[in-house]
Amino acid sequence: MSVTQSASRRVSAYEVVHASREFRGLRRHFGSFVVPAIGVFLGWYFLYVICAAFAPNFMKTPLFGDVNVGMCFGILQFVLTFIVTVTYLRWGRRKFDVQATRLRTRLEQGRRR
């Protein structure tokens, strides 16, 4: 068997997998977590940026002592980052990885056959 033959067969095998219901399910699963998560953190971040640029007086509103809205808003950026990270880690470990590994194992066994 020549190299080009095996290469072209492998590519078409990828296409078969790519069109399969299981892979499309995996991709949808990936998107259904990642897209909203990105929307939330980028939205939250740019809301902060726009407030800082165009609503400085709102940001300067004191909350307690000398800590104002802007400072809390800034620190909440850190909090959301940590929350998204932990949620993603859990989602990956409990759901996505299981599905992805199952598909990978099947592909690798299929290729060896």
Binding site: E15, A37, V49, A52, T81, F82, E108
Partner: protein
């Protein structure tokens, strides 16, 4: 009012102490590099450290690679002088990691081998795209390197009291030589160990300083802010936005532009992407990024305390008049709190930071040249791995020389700001093509070329015609060309991201949909299946 003896003498602390502590760090790390690195003969050893680092080790090393002099010296200094507006850097530098975590870490680890160009190659199989990716990697690394070496320059002025040329040049040369030994002897494995050690001492140093500052204000953050505002000539204005990016619409847009570059740039930085390949698989790559998020997050929270602490305890005037300017705020804070010894420790941490980041950048740039240009293009993907490593080592030496020279020339520019330019270029030239390659079926080679070169040329071009290079008379951010009569700045923003990032996304789309060649569905299928499942990925020996 506290008296600061350095105002009279021009030096802070004891240069001998500073040098001794730094020399100790260099010697210890060199010993570790030599013992840990092994033979380094194969490309996988030299570029990826044998792909055998654990997720947490690599996570700490990524933190070490990421927390540059810009973060430690630059952001602390910006907050110390301008208060709240400096905080944006901390936030943007952290939040950007989520993009890496969610979209980049796993998929890129699964589809590449060593460099950013690998994923383009798998997706588009086009040598011109590989060349474009190498050009953008080298440009981004150059700007980042410039920032680090500039930081080394200002640190030297502060610690050794030399603002004259010769002394600074010698220290920059020493930094260059130590860095080259790490890279040439240690390869990626040795460099990774240096990053980990550096991240460790940087983390400990930062936390110690932070706790110390908090002790001074009775662990009451509001008190710290009150004290800082009372010391600052701007008063309570430092607690809110507007001091650095206030005044006029273009300043506001400059702020938004900077914010975009920071949050989207991290995911396009080639030296961080390359670090993803030092672990066995995508799961470990993701795990590394999680470790990085924690490390970087805690660090940037601390910069807030350090910055306001320096504003309060060191004071605006002392920072501005110190040799090294705003970058000297944190070392001066250390001097105020713990005297000569703590100052020496912090200075050594800062030097170590620069050294480690420069090493990481050099290995990335040399890998890009050897793997993408030499092996991928000149040898048509068929180079002897030993030759490839030899080319990489030679390139590293050249980069070391360039770094020393440009670092010397750029030593007066504000460091955090220089890094933000590298982020803008990374977000424009790299990120769109990476995302399109992984997730958009119709992406073609022409789209990639338009997007990479379009993003690269537009961002570098707009920087050249911005107040960064000419025409700014402001004391806070002077131009490279200080002569006010030379003014060719027609682009009003000092950060080009707000224009160039959308432009690069648009060009990638336009180039692809107007491409006469059809999109390669088979390659897209392969990239997606590999990216999401990890089938066919380059594994580590123990993976």
């Amino acid at each position: 009012m506290k008296t600061h003896d350095f105002l009279a003498s021009g030096t802070v602390g004891d240069p001998a102490v500073n040098i001794t502590i730094f020399a100790f760090f260099v010697i210890v790390t060199l010993i570790i590099v030599v013992t840990a690195s092994g033979a380094n003969r194969s490309t996988s050893d030299y570029y990826a450290g044998g792909r055998n680092f654990k997720g947490w080790q690599n996570g700490i090393a990524i933190g070490g690679d990421y927390l540059s002099a810009a973060s430690f010296l630059g952001i602390g200094g910006l907050i110390a002088l301008y208060g709240y507006d400096g905080f944006l850097y901390s936030i943007g530098f952290l939040v950007g990691w989520l993009l890496v975590l969610l979209l980049i870490a796993g998929p890129l680890r699964n589809t590449g081998r060593y460099t950013t160009a690998d994923v383009f190659d798998l997706r588009l199989r086009n040598t011109r795209v590989r060349g474009a990716a190498a050009v953008s990697t080298l440009t981004i690394s150059f700007f980042y390197l410039l920032a680090q070496m500039a930081g080394a320059g200002s640190l030297v002025s502060l610690l050794l009291g030399v603002s004259g040329g010769a002394g600074q040049f010698i220290v920059i040369v020493v930094v260059g030589i130590a860095m080259l030994i790490y890279v040439l002897v240690g390869g990626m494995k040795g460099t990774t160990w240096v990053q980990m050690i550096k991240a460790g001492i940087l983390g400990v140093g930062t936390v110690v300083l932070t706790v110390w500052v908090m002790t001074e204000c009775g662990f009451n953050f509001s008190n710290l802010l009150a004290h800082a505002a009372a010391t600052s000539p701007s008063g309570k204005a430092v607690l809110g936005p507007g001091l650095l990016y206030g005044g006029g619409l273009s300043a506001h847009f400059n702020f938004v532009s900077l914010a975009m570059a920071l949050v989207l740039g991290t995911a396009g930085l080639p030296h961080l992407i390359m670090r993803l390949y030092t672990v066995p698989d995508a799961t470990e790559a993701r795990r590394s990024v999680v470790w990085t998020v924690w490390l970087v997050g805690v660090f940037y929270l601390c910069t807030l305390v350090l910055g306001f602490g320096a504003m309060w305890l060191v004071g605006n005037k002392a920072i501005l008049t110190a040799p090294g300017g705003s970058d000297s705020a944190v070392p001066l804070l250390a001097y105020h709190l713990g005297g000569t010894l703590l100052m020496g420790l912090v200075a050594a941490v800062a030097f170590a930071t620069i050294l480690a980041v420069v090493a990481g950048l050099t290995i990335t740039a040399s890998a890009s040249f050897a793997h993408d240009v030499y092996a991928g293009i000149l040898r048509g993907g068929d180079a002897d791995p030993r030759d490839e490593v030899r080319v990489a080592r030679t390139t590293a030496v050249v980069i070391g020389l360039v770094a020393v020279v440009v670092g010397f020339l750029a030593r007066k520019i504000d460091v955090a700001f220089l890094v933000s330019l590298a982020f803008a270029i990374a977000a424009s030239a790299n990120l769109p093509s990476i995302l399109y390659s992984l997730f958009w079926r119709r992406f073609t080679a022409r789209g990639a070329l338009w997007s990479i070169y379009g993003g690269l040329i537009s961002s570098v071009g707009l920087i050249i015609f911005s107040p960064v290079v000419s025409g700014s008379a402001s004391a806070a951010s002077p131009s490279l060309i200080t002569d006010p009569h030379v003014n060719f700045a027609f682009f009003p923003l000092s950060n080009p991201g707000i224009v160039t990032i959308p432009l690069a996304f648009f060009l990638g789309w336009l180039g692809s949909v107007t491409d006469p060649l059809p999109p390669e569905d088979a390659r897209f299928a392969r990239v997606q299946v590999r990216a999401l499942t990890g089938v066919g990925a380059e594994r580590g020996a123990r993976g």
